[in-house]
Symmetry: C2
Subunit: 465 residues, 2 copies
């Protein structure tokens, strides 16, 4: 065996040895079960140190290419995968289409309807710094379980942040979660049983629909208007069906981008009190807004509102960090379930978020996002109008605009989108029963991409039949 090692290369010698050994085995000059040269022999033959060979062999053992047999040396592994996993068909193909956008997207499509901001907009360097800081901090954060209610330092920061937006609670009312959807799951499991009824917005958050369906909870639809749910419909549904609770996005509603007006907010709270229902207020876009805004949790005086939030949209979806606020007795039940169903959240990722809140780097990063989003929203509204599209409402912030192109159905729009390498999500996904719709949730952060612009251009012509 002769390896060609380049001592001037920026690739470490160990890696060169490992790579070339593997290439050699791959070309079947070595068969499964073959014994490799001893560490000493290979080191002498190639003029490298024994520790270099040990390290290279170790890496190939870790990759499953070699096997170490105690006292006998290193052998080509018997059970090698014939192909690396990345070359196999994506296993996620077996899953329903609804999760397709969560899979890595090898086709380089522009996901114009997705629910997150571009990587380049986000505070990746600040996150990386916080990660490194936590890696140098107390060992507990690298090794230990997190307390049931969440990391005290994170909860203390959340408590301050809630106070700043006018939500006055005790620290005992804050429970950390792995994102808002985990919080929703804990709530649904704790508050609802199969057959119960819940008021949901229509259009609305599709993963809430999935969750409620999974729990066999019946959904009653509140039509979303530009100022919030239609309160007359809400009143009728409350009287007729006696639902257990009501779910709402007050701010920058998903998918319409509309926000609750104070009048609608007060009426909803009044109705909730009269009919004794709980409100789940999902406020995951809270930090896209600076300063005072109409929120049910701010106006609530009787712990009727359960407040949910998350760092997935404004910071990172990878860290899985969110929280919820509720009455202390409910928090205790939710925390029990959180432990029973998974022994809690990640202490490491909670410390990363706490670090960014404490250092102010989170605050700075959202302060940079807001004007950028506002600029893209204004541009998007102008371009959609110029292209003959109709918008549901003109959002005053956030990332979504809900729009349709008169004369075009989803199938026709989708053909044009595919031709421009643009991925669309059907409007039906945002309907509780999956009814067809010609509305699209457009994420304004992606509309200036040339693929999206080309798509918009194509919709100026009448659809080809």
């Amino acid at each position: 065996m002769k390896l060609t090692l380049d001592r001037q290369s920026s690739t470490p010698l160990v890696q060169q040895v490992a790579d070339q050994l593997q290439a050699w085995i791959d070309h079947q000059r070595l068969r499964p079960g073959s014994r490799l040269l001893s560490i000493r022999q290979l080191a002498r033959e190639q003029g490298v140190s024994q520790s270099c060979v040990i390290e290279a062999y170790d890496r190939l053992v870790a990759k499953g290419v070699l096997e170490a047999r105690h006292g006998a040396g290193f052998f080509v592994a018997e059970q090698r995968l014939s192909e690396p996993l990345r070359d196999l068909p994506l296993p996620d193909e077996t899953l329903s289409n609804r999760w397709q956008q969560f899979s890595d997207n090898p086709a380089e499509l522009l996901n114009l309807c997705c629910g997150w901001l571009p990587s380049s907009w986000r505070a990746s360097e600040a996150i990386a710094q916080a990660v490194r800081q936590v890696s140098r901090g107390p060992l507990e954060d690298l090794l230990d379980y997190c307390p049931p209610l969440g990391l005290a330092r994170l909860r203390s920061q959340l408590h301050k942040g809630l106070g700043q937006i006018g939500i006055q609670v005790s620290p005992q009312q804050i429970l950390t979660t792995q994102g808002a959807s985990h919080g929703l799951d804990l709530l649904v499991r704790t508050l609802l049983k199969p057959g119960d009824k819940v008021l949901v917005e229509s259009p609305g958050y599709y993963n809430l629909y999935n969750l409620l369906r999974h729990h066999q909870v019946e959904m009653l639809r509140m039509p979303r208007t530009a100022s919030g749910p239609d309160v007359e419909v809400v009143e009728t549904l409350l009287k007729r069906h006696r639902p257990r609770c009501l779910y709402i996005n007050s701010l920058y509603h998903n998918p319409t981008g509309s926000s609750l007006t104070p009048k609608v907010a007060y009426r909803l709270l009044e109705l909730a009190r009269e009919h004794d229902v709980q409100i789940i207020e999902d406020d995951i876009y809270a930090d896209f807004q600076d300063g005072a805004v109409t929120r049910l949790a701010t106006l609530d005086a009787e712990q009727r509102v359960i407040y949910l939030a998350s760092f997935s949209k404004t910071l990172s979806s990878s860290l899985r960090s969110g929280y919820l606020v509720a009455a202390p007795a409910l928090i205790t039940r939710l925390a029990e379930l959180k432990m029973v169903s998974g022994l809690g959240t990640s202490r490491f990722t909670e410390q990363v978020v706490a670090q960014m809140l404490a250092s102010g780097s989170y605050r700075k990063s959202v302060a940079r996002l807001r004007p950028r989003l506002a600029q893209h929203m204004a541009k998007a509204l102008g371009q959609l109008e110029a292209s003959g599209w109709q918008v549901f409402t003109e959002p005053y912030g956030g990332m979504f605009v809900w729009a349709r192109c008169p004369g075009w159905d989803f199938a026709a729009l989708n053909r044009q989108a595919m031709a421009c390498s643009v991925l669309l999500a059907p409007g039906s996904a945002f309907d509780p029963q999956g009814a067809a719709s010609d509305w699209l949730r457009i994420n304004v952060a992606y509309l200036q991409d040339q693929r999206a612009q080309a798509f918009l251009q194509r919709t100026r012509r009448p659809p080809s039949s």
Copy 2:
């Protein structure tokens, strides 16, 4: 205002300014709502740069001490916490005692019965390094959601590792989870409904009992012997009750430390086939063992065994990383529920684990743990015998030994333990119905601590009545 800044100090100027401003406010020389000096004024007065003042004010805003009002400057926050959260009574006190050991332990007690290894034994430096490597890697790992089945690179590593212990599956059969307890929760929600019956080991894993109780699943107890569950009892229960599945720790059983013999393993698989029940094999201590060992998943030829594992015990409980292996159709259902109930696992922490598997640092760290555990196990068995204790069986590895001190009940033992600052978990925690027990799960990694030795010493005398 006069701040005393020390330009020779190792504390950065920004921090000095922030700390001293906060101290000043704390001593109530500044009241809530008071306006602070402008950035320019404070900078001039203290002879520091404006950017230094901006940074200091920013930190105090992030801490909730100050508020920034757009265009008007900085003010002392209206809604300051009078005390920092860490000085409040621990909110976790409101939770049931069962989670006490998961809370930070300010009392410096030695947790002799806990379910994890000491920090000093674990590969914290290697974890920290992997964390830093991932922080410098692709942005997706810092920012994005993880695919439904888990990170492909981690699943590829897991696939190789499973092959190395003789579990032959396709990559489509591997689903990542936030630890084994999350995997169990997904399984219970997917496979069982209230009123269903499940065979559980007695003594056994208390969080499984909690989970099954939460789902209103009926538990039937299989007495654990030194060689595995009592197969005669299993046969009777299967005939009489037609349970849906059977849960087992094959290796280093929690809490007894015993392992399945091949004879019992074959008989269990035979019985499972005859009575058509599924087996959930929880193998979270797998990597405490090197090389071949009796496992149901290895012997299983008909996808009757669902295999669960985790990195919580051998690497880190903080990262929340585990996985499960099952038939492809079941994996699809579990992955759907994983997404519906929380939008998946943390891509960041999965990349950290994948990195440690690929580099071999995980393999090295468990290779260091094994002899250390074996040494502590041998020592513990000798010391317990010398102190007159009885052990259930002599485990050949792992961290638990199940032991009792004849003549002593739990209350008497606990009094002596408390006197030595040793925290015990009652044996009743490991009984499906919480029945009193004088057995203790002793974690051998902690028994050489002088507090544990003092406790052992005290049990050599007869209990005081």
